[in-house]
């Protein structure tokens, strides 16, 4: 104990000495503030710690100093970026949708009168505001770009639940789409670029990776609409013949890595992807380490000669998964494809061959082939440009991440065994839009356009036939009130009074059962599209008229449009949208839509009167866009909608929907 006592005494003495020195110094320092610099030669401050400005023993500082001897990667201390080095961009999108239904489906997830502040009225599914776009998307990125870049987005959703005490559902913070990083590397003629994180919008080829495109609705606002000038959207619909398109715009969302290597002397690009797409597995499984990944490689060689220009691509895609994490049972899809896109003088030619393999509990290494070929002639060769496409895709050619709409029931979004009622990528015998392709099918699409003065005419004709009659259901797309109807019971594939409605992202489908007991035929699918566009001036203001018409039919053994009741399903859709520019900052929009769907007696009959479906749907709407600054606008839409089936009497709804959107880009 005596040793301890002595140590304690010494400790106390040293402590007293230290305190005394400290006091003297504080006094001297304080005095120097009052009297100017001190000439004290007795005490001076010694600076010992030199740290980078702004950082003192932080986690990052520690990280960069704890490397082993061998580790020379980020070896230097971070310097810190100033505000000028960080680029802040974003979008504010306040969305309010009020729906007032006089009649509605009994399984509609909301009451008949409903306020929603998101695209879909399910708040708090996961933490992401139900996949809808947030009220504020705040993106940070380093700028100017260097050999690396970060791009992160903070997504703030306000759901106005009114519950201030529990804000877990009222205000949701997430990162919807931007949590990604990139890097660049070069060595002589080789350039390498890496993207990591998510969401990485990815495309390899049509038959491997790059999801299906859909025609826009010209009246409804789409969440990702990027037009600062509202009327420009309509002017471009008139002049450019292009879609705003889906958010993916023919690409697939990926979380993981994309490594792009460009070998300049060989004119060759190699793209490798690894990660998960949104179709690999369910959200619940994704965060539990479920074994499901997607790998892909594309080797693309550019060709450029005097007469021919284009590229050739070799693609490999594999979804490598198991049905669970325990038993090792495979759930794989593998595709190899070769695509060629060439411009030979005035002819554009593109084609892709693919072979796919499915390996899951139902199909053991089943294979399927696919072929797509397209020829385009510009208007210098023919009077008007023509695009003709042919495709032949086997039942076992399943590519959920590609553009092939899937009929194969063993291949499910979210993994093998995911229930059909939640599989939003299963489109059995779908009557697709012109230009869309499906498996278990061969067919063609013909598209052309012509101008008669200010009238622009686009036509599309497609016909296809199933390769094998495997399923006794057909699926068609509801074109009128498509988005509004998908909000009744989103993400559910057996909605409505008769369990036939598929509510997917911004789109609605319906599946009808074929009751014909004879099945020695092949179903044919026909689609006619006519898009008329006109622009003229009234009262010295621009008016754009967009008139879209489509007819679909599904029938036995032929691919020609069938207008009588020999067709299992006939669908006619007529839509007209008028956009009138009132002023530099204002425009008004009006829309009317009509859709009729008729089935024949070989489809499911109503229990009420033993008749097939006979539906009529309407939509009437009006709206106004006001661009109050160069980057901000208010968009109001009001719509009256109705739908009624004469025979399936419960299949009816009627109501109104008002949408108010404030959108500010910065």
């Amino acid at each position: 104990m005596s040793v301890i006592l002595k140590i304690t005494m010494i400790r106390n003495q040293i402590f007293r000495l230290a305190c005394l020195v400290l006091l003297i110094h504080v006094f001297a320092t304080t005095s120097s503030y009052a009297k100017g610099p001190s000439d004290s030669s007795e005490v001076s401050v010694v600076q010992t710690n030199k740290k980078p400005s702004g950082i003192s023993l932080s986690n990052l500082y520690a990280h960069f100093n704890s490397k082993s001897l061998l580790d020379t990667t980020p070896a230097k201390l971070p310097l810190g970026l100033s505000l000028n080095d960080i680029k802040v961009t974003g979008v504010i999108r306040f969305l309010s949708i009020y729906r007032n239904m006089d009649k509605s489906y009994s399984d509609m997830i909301t009451s008949q009168k409903n306020f929603s502040f998101a695209d879909y009225p399910i708040v708090g599914v996961g933490s992401n505001n139900n996949g809808g776009f947030p009220m504020l998307e705040l993106n940070l990125a380093n700028s100017p770009l260097s050999k690396f870049q970060f791009n992160v987005g903070y997504s703030f959703a306000q759901n106005f639940t009114g519950n201030q005490s529990d804000s877990s559902m009222s205000k949701i913070l997430s990162s919807r789409q931007n949590l990604r990083f990139s890097g660049k590397w070069a060595a002589g003629p080789v350039r390498v670029g890496l993207d990591a994180g998510g969401i990485l919008w990815t495309k390899m080829s049509r038959l491997t990776m790059g999801q299906t495109n859909y025609r826009d609705n010209y009246f409804d606002r789409v969440p990702w609409d990027w037009y600062r000038n509202s009327f420009l959207r309509y002017e471009e619909y008139y002049s450019l013949s292009t879609n705003i398109g889906a958010e993916s715009a023919g690409r697939s969302p990926l979380l993981g890595y994309i490594l792009k290597t460009d070998i300049l002397p060989l004119s060759t690009k190699i793209t490798m992807i690894y990660g998960r797409t949104n179709l690999n597995t369910t959200v619940g499984n994704a965060i539990n380490g479920f074994p499901s990944s997607t790998f892909g490689t594309r080797i693309e060689k550019s060709i450029f000669t005097r007469r021919v220009a284009g590229n050739i691509g070799l693609n490999y895609y594999k979804k490598d998964a198991n049905t669970n994490s325990r038993t090792g049972i495979k759930d794989e899809q593998e595709i190899v494809s070769l695509d060629v896109a060439l411009k030979i003088r005035k002819l554009n030619f593109s084609t892709e061959f693919g072979r796919a393999r499915i390996n899951n509990p139902r199909y053991k290494n089943a294979t399927g082939n696919a072929f797509v070929g397209k020829v385009e002639l510009d208007r210098t060769v023919t009077a008007f440009p023509i695009s003709l496409e042919y495709y032949h895709i086997g039942y076992n050619y399943a590519s959920l991440d590609g553009s092939v709409m899937n009929s194969n029931t063993s291949v499910n979004a979210g993994g093998y065994g995911n229930e059909y009622i939640y599989d939003n990528m299963l489109f059995i015998n779908v009557a697709q839009q012109v230009g869309q392709i499906a498996n278990n099918r061969q067919g063609f699409s013909l598209r052309s356009e012509s101008n008669i003065k200010k009238l622009k005419i686009q036509i599309g004709i497609s016909g296809s036939q199933e390769l094998q009659n495997l399923h006794d259901t057909v699926t068609f797309q509801h074109r009128v009130n498509s988005f509004s109807r998908s909000r009744f019971r989103p993400w559910f594939m057996a909605g409505g009074e008769y369990g036939r409605i598929k509510g997917v992202w911004l789109t609605t489908y319906e599946t009808v059962t074929i009751t014909d007991t004879i099945s020695n035929y092949k179903k044919g699918f026909s689609n006619l599209e006519l898009f008329l566009k006109y622009k003229f001036r009234i009262f010295n203001r621009d008016l754009v008229v967009l008139n879209f018409n489509t007819f679909n039919s599904i029938q036995k053994n032929n691919i020609t449009p069938t207008f009588n009741d020999k067709a299992f399903i006939r669908l006619f859709f007529e839509d007209i949208t008028l956009a009138y520019r009132l002023g530099k900052k204002y425009n008004i929009v009006a829309n009317a839509g009509y859709e009729t769907v008729k089935g024949n007696r070989f489809t499911q009959l109503s229990s009420e009167n033993n008749e097939p479906i006979d539906q009529v749907g309407y939509a009437y709407g009006g709206g106004i866009d006001y661009d109050f600054t160069a980057n901000a606008g208010i968009h109001l839409r009001h719509k009256w909608m109705s739908h009624k089936d004469k025979n399936f009497v419960l299949d009816q709804f009627k109501g109104q929907e008002t949408t108010l959107e404030l959108k500010i880009f910065f």
Partner: protein, 570 residues
Amino acid sequence: MKYKVGYIVFVFLLSVCSTSYAQVKFNFNGLGRAIVTSNKIGGETLKGDTLSPSKGLSGYTVFDLQPNLIINNNIKANVILRMRNPFGSFYGANTLFSFRQFQIMGKIGKVVEYEIGDIYLGGGMTSYTMYKPFEMNHEFESDIHSQRRSVAEYENFVSGNLWRLQGVQGRSNFGFNKGIKNLGINIFAVRTNASNEKSIPDRIMAGGRIGIVQSEYLAVGLNYVNLLDVTVNQDEVEYSNSVLTGDVKLTLNRDKFLVQLNGELGSSNFKNVQVYNDSTVQYTDYVTEAGIKGVYKPAKVKLFATYRSVGAQFSSPSAQTTRMNVDQPNSLFTRISGNAVFRNQNIYDRLTDEQSYNRSISAVLYNFLPQYGNITPYGDATPNRVGISVGLGSDTSAKIIKVEARADMFNEIIGEGVADKRKYAAYRGGLVFNFGDLLKINRKMSVNTGFRQETTTRGGNAPIDFKSTLIDLGATVEVFKQFDVLVGTKLLAASGNEYLSVRDQFNLLSDFTAYNLDLKEQIISLGLRLRFSERSYLTGTYNTSTYKEIQSNNYNYNINQWFFNYTLAF
């Protein structure tokens, strides 16, 4: 949600500050990382087992944003705001936001440097007072493994031998013209456990160091750490543990050589009052260290020898808390054997698992696994050890080659459970040879090897004979500019019998568990690394790890893992 609100408020305030006051500096640091691992477990143990997970794919993308606010030299502040998205979760689902760090620092009166918040402790203090001991001999492990380890260390705020805790710290240095050359003072106070305001008291750790550099020949220091409970009305236990040591260093530094003598002497005082039954357990013990180090500068060679005696009841939680927690369930393939048994921690888990690190100071010694370090599992401050360490190695100025060899010969001071004492011997060393520097080709090319062998023996009625060998081999070759091929392996063999100590709440031995092992472990890793810049890199590695208990065949499995990591920092 409070984090989210805090985040918004903080960013807003910083933005306001940065725009309102021209003199206020505001900048950002950050780290972004995207990790994906594809994992598979197999082997005899998993045969026919359809209940235990055997395959998985996981990972995360994380972004740490650190806004730094520098008002002036007196006030600086930073926070780290984390955004983390689990791999495979789309459109913001399951994105987590957290408030990872908060620090305020600066100077008071141009004299005292202070830090408040999440602070790192132990800088300048000794390995008996405030020190996070290394968990294994991985100084010479391969680049591919050290880089992988750095991910787990970053996640756990590991910085060398420093402890990251929450509290306040102050440092000051004074230079003198007469008597002594320099006086440095470092004091800190942190809270290691918060009170529930009823029966559990706040646990506070406070202490510091006073260092005096008398001249280039003589430096002395005094270190003090006290971990104690702040009593509450209904507390059941009142705990305190203080450690006080003094150290001295004599140095003779000449052009061609350096000779240094160093010593440290101190004691610990443990006290645990059981309020509910009015009993007290109290004990004191001592630590002594004396060493000599010599450096021959022309040859860049150093020699050292150290004598150490650490009492059986020497208790210094801030120097004895282990880096790894062997009782923490593994993140990877947590259960095996019909999903019923927690898989034991192996060498690969210790390298990679982000969840297996201790982040707080423990008053009671943690359990340890002898195969991963039996001689000094709690670092230099491991209690009940007396013996010497001798070694030689290259000086730190050697760039081309780094080599070190060391032998530790220790005995127990008192027998544990029996009168007989354990005898320990350890031989360890390693080599790093940077032949890229030797060839002056401006490419990173190096090989490394590390070796550690430990033996533990005891005679008498409860004999012990335990031996473990750890070997590291690795190489890094920059085949193209900033494009590296990495290889590395770890081999571990351990066999024999030991007794694992069971400690009670008073940190005293209460029981022993027989421990028999005949184990072989191996990690083989092969990978590529692309360095985009000094602050960003991509690695893709394949790792195969085997764990085989030879005699008992209780557990025999292998884990194969693809590991992809893109990291950037700014």
